[in-house]
């Protein structure tokens, strides 16, 4: 029971980190970046090759992966989404799906469809025993990383000038421009942060579940998107809460109900939450004041 709960929180923490990327980009650019899941996959591949082929230690490999994904996020935004700034949201959505397929197929070309086994970066650290429960080091690191990321992002958006500008842009781009805020640069920054987080999520995901292939990011991407909607899209604490709840529900459904039905149960919970509270658990009701 406790073991399942810990596993659920761990998986949920990964969803939460991915969901943050979705939610921040949605908050600022009002678009669903469906390629976000595939950035995770790219991040995992970069780390995989750095460690397994170039013999890099885990931390520099992670940093390299973050750097590559951050750049990738900025480039995707510049090339694919920026030209569509004034287009309909449907056009942007379809483009995002296109970028997603592009990344998956580029990965297929570059790295083939052969499944890679992600190295265990915590191989020489044993499991930690608390009472009768064994906790894998990756679980602890994941939960810890999640808490740190959440705290840093909350401080960033509430205390720093850049972070406040980000909130201003997410509320009203025109008014933000009139403050002298460079909206394009703020959107770029948001993509950079979201994609950097995706790299971290990718490495953690593949450390916990070590099979890596070009479609690795797709399902966690969709789940994390669900988590973001579940918690209230656009809300940072919402992404956190949604991610962790989703992870816990998934693991419990697997353990006590059915492995095959676990995904169906996860999405059923989402549907119920959205019927009861359409803006998500922590989502703000949008009040239009004239």
């Amino acid at each position: 029971m406790l073991g399942n709960l810990i596993n659920g929180i761990s998986l949920g923490s990964i969803y939460a980190i991915i969901a943050l990327g979705y939610t921040m980009v949605y908050g600022i650019a009002k678009m669903l970046n469906f390629a976000h899941g595939d950035v995770i996959m790219v991040g995992a591949y970069i780390a995989f090759y750095s460690i397994s082929y170039f013999g890099m230690p885990a931390l520099p490999a992670l940093l390299l992966s973050i750097a590559v994904c951050t750049m990738l996020g900025i480039i995707i935004e510049k090339l694919a989404y920026k030209p569509l700034r004034n287009a309909t949201s449907l056009a942007v959505l379809i483009t995002a799906i296109g970028v997603s397929y592009f990344l998956q197929n580029a990965a297929l070309l570059l790295w083939t469809s052969n499944t890679k086994v992600f190295p265990n970066i915590f191989a020489n650290i044993g499991a930690i025993k608390i009472g009768s429960v064994q906790i894998a080091p990756v679980t602890l690191v994941t939960v810890f990383a999640n808490i740190v990321i959440m705290l840093v992002l909350t401080l960033f958006t509430s205390k720093t000038k850049m972070g406040k500008a980000m909130r201003a842009v997410s509320e009203d781009k025109g008014a933000a421009t009139l403050m002298g805020i460079n909206v394009d640069r703020t959107i770029s920054l948001t993509f950079a942060i979201g994609s950097g987080l995706a790299a971290i999520a990718g490495v953690l995901l593949c450390t916990a579940y070590p099979t890596l292939m070009p479609t690795t990011g797709a399902m966690p991407g969709i789940k994390a998107f669900t988590a973001a909607v579940f918690g209230g899209i656009g809300s940072i604490p919402g992404a956190m809460l949604g991610g962790i709840l989703l992870g816990v529900i998934e693991i419990f459904a697997k353990a006590y109900i059915s492995t095959q039905l676990s995904d169906a149960i996860v999405f059923a919970v989402l549907i119920i939450v959205l019927i009861v509270k359409p803006s998500g658990l922590l989502g703000r009701k949008i009040n239009e004041k004239v």
Binding site: A175, M179, G180
Partner: protein, 236 residues
């Protein structure tokens, strides 16, 4: 007196709609100039074009003797232009203080406090509500916040778009008193208003816009007395 803003032969289109048909006007340092006119005459379009939110097709905009025709809106803020937009558009989910801080986005950190003190002197109500979320303010308070926020950039030219819209008469009087006060403290003002009576009574000069053209211009006090203006804009 130096010329702070000079607009010449400005042409603005929305798609195929010719919204502004070659207007020219200027604002001298220290003045209150008002653009009045009916709904849809192009007043807000003119202001938004000068502020850089809308691209003009042709013409020229000189701000502080510098060509700013194709300058981005955020750069214009840095150069000393502030636009307090129609409908206030305060950041509803941010606190009053955060809204004011955003207004000072282009200023160096050390100068923000000084501006805050100045704005709070003009709008004592805002200081009482520093920590309150802007969306919970009344309409009048939101208008004050929008004006205070625009003032935080320490503008050379403050452009106000319909500051009296939707406010009770007693608040309208208050808002206009503040506009006069801001002007007395050295801020040049370009005011767009539908409330022609109020606008003309505080302004030095006025331009009357009709369907994208300037039809009349001159001394505000004289226009206030003119039979033609009375008939068209002052209700008799």
């Amino acid at each position: 007196m130096a010329e702070i803003l000079k607009v010449s032969d400005l042409q603005v289109y929305y798609g195929s709609i010719h919204a502004i048909k070659g207007i020219s006007f200027n604002v001298m340092e220290g003045e209150i100039v008002t653009l009045i006119g009916a709904n849809g005459a192009g007043k807000s379009t003119t202001l938004n074009t000068v502020g850089g939110l809308i691209k003009a097709k042709s013409g020229s905009i000189l701000f502080d003797n510098e060509d700013s025709f194709s300058m981005s809106a955020e750069k214009k803020v840095k150069k000393g232009m502030a636009l307090c937009p129609e409908g206030r558009r305060v950041f509803q989910q941010m606190t009053v203080l955060e809204n004011l801080e955003m207004g000072a986005y282009t200023r160096p950190k050390g100068e923000v406090q000084e501006s805050l003190d100045k704005v709070c002197e003009l709008f004592p109500r805002l200081k009482e509500r520093y920590k309150q979320v802007a969306g919970t303010l009344s309409g009048g308070e939101q208008q004050m916040l929008a004006m205070g926020r625009a003032l935080m950039s320490k503008p050379k030219l403050m452009m106000l778009d319909e500051p009296s819209m939707g406010l009770a008469p007693i608040l309208v009087q208050q808002i206009f008193d503040i506009i006069v006060n801001m002007n007395k403290q050295g801020t040049t003002i370009l005011l767009v208003e539908q409330n022609a009576q109020m606008a003309l009574s505080v302004a030095d000069r006025a331009y009357v816009l009709e369907t994208g053209n300037i039809t009349t211009s001159g001394d505000a006090a004289e226009l206030l007395e003119s039979e033609e203006i009375k008939k068209a804009y002052l209700g008799g």
